[in-house]
Amino acid sequence: MTPELKGFLLLGLVKSLVGFGALVLGVAFVTWVERRQAAFHQDRLGPNRVGPFGLFQPIADGIKNFIKEELVPADANRILFLLAPALVFTPGLLLFAVIPFAAPMPVSFDFSLPLLGRFVYDDAMPMMIANLPLGLLFVLAISSLGVYGIVLAGWASNSKYSFLGGLRASAQMVSYEVALGLSVISVFLVAGNLTLTGVVAAQQAMLWYVLPLTLGFVLFVISALAETNRLPFDLPEAESELVYGYHTEYSAMKFAMFFLGEYAALITMSALMATLFFGGWDIPFTSWDEGEPSVIVSLTTLLVFLLKTFSFVFVYIWIRWSLPRFRYDQLMALGWKVLLPIALGYLMLLATAIWILEHFNIEQNLVYGLILFAVNLPVIYVLFWILDSGRLVFGYGGQRRMTN
């Protein structure tokens, strides 16, 4: 191995340790945020006893979950039952690997260790765990893996509630993945690039994609809510009807793994929204952050990225504590009859618009973005008008016309 390769590997190791460690810490933090914010929405205070503002509450919860008894139901499929929580937990973490969370940081070192030899690195280090050339495809592939853990958990528990929860989860996640993928394709179309660093760079050159791709953003938010099983799409859990769905039979740390996996997915989905539609670590109205890489730029952009991500986390939690749950048929109808046609039609419109813009040789700059935004506006207006004037989602019975 050359010293450069060893340096690269070492850096990768450090980055993954720090990155995943930070994510797990972030997950713990978000569980606290969720409880505090929920309380504030309900005029309560929430957990504020353990440590300053109750910040150490997640640690107390963690200790509690470690001490609790691990139960495996008598007729459960033991191997799958134990495997499922890990399968839910890992995709949430893995997704985070391809998200760039700051501007590249210049790193240079050259040292030797006994036995291992010389380590060299001297370059602007991309601030992401893995700069995969197929970034967004990786996101789609890994986010679909999450459903396996939930289905296995539901099936292996040998409980009717878990089973129903698992069934619902599989149907729901498979359905909304279609809309999620299609809304991400709109980003591909404009960026012409699969890597998330490329998407961020394209947004710096043009506009944050939330404007030229407004509808795509809305579709992404809705399907991301469904993908992460958050309210108003938390049918797999549905504590009022299915007890707790697929994790009814889980206890102690295995239950906590589901919990952590859910919040890890919440954070990564928020980070994805920030990256795909809100410029990632880009600071608006300035090109200072695109200049020469330095440590200060990296840290500032990291802060900006965290701010964006956590504002989405806030919105997620806000939605959860505002909206009631969908009925199952409404959920399916929304996914297949509303979101999918809208996404397909939008893609066609977008592709046509881009083709025309390229035909007139318009550069990908601010004007280009604003023209696309102008294309979005009437579509959104018409969609809002149609959806607002009729029932947004028909159940089975809603389709019968009243004859009288």
Partner: protein, 168 residues
Amino acid sequence: MAIGVKVVRRPERDVSYLRASLKGMALTFQHLFRKKVTMQYPEEISKDGWSISPRWRGTHRMLTDEQGRARCVACGLCPQICPANCIKLVPGEDEEGNRYPLIYEIDEFRCVFCGYCQEVCPEEAIHVGVHYENAEYQRERFVYDLERLCAQTHPVSSLWDPSDPRGE
């Protein structure tokens, strides 16, 4: 329609939950900044406008006479009526023939706080109290003996009066 089937015409327009959802979101957002109603209990014992009911039936208290002796005459009515069988009473008698309790113990774990003992007591000696801070470190400490019952100082419950059902 042979039997009276009522056909309800459901609205077909303007029933989308799009606006309603947005309205709801706005409402919950406003609640973020409302005054919180939580009473931070051990530090903040009571808040304005908050008190427990005078008819609250908590742990017992034995009233005493001027000489500091328990008013109880060991008539045995309270252990008789107690549905949870939590009162232990061993009566004693002094030289003048006055009955007094040799042992009077109430197991607060067994007690269902019905308040019958207070209702039945002819001497108005035993009472249930307006009191809720009962934490102890040992289970045995929840068997209150006579000395402890007499030492309690919390206000006593005013029982429901049938002629004044609302406590006015």
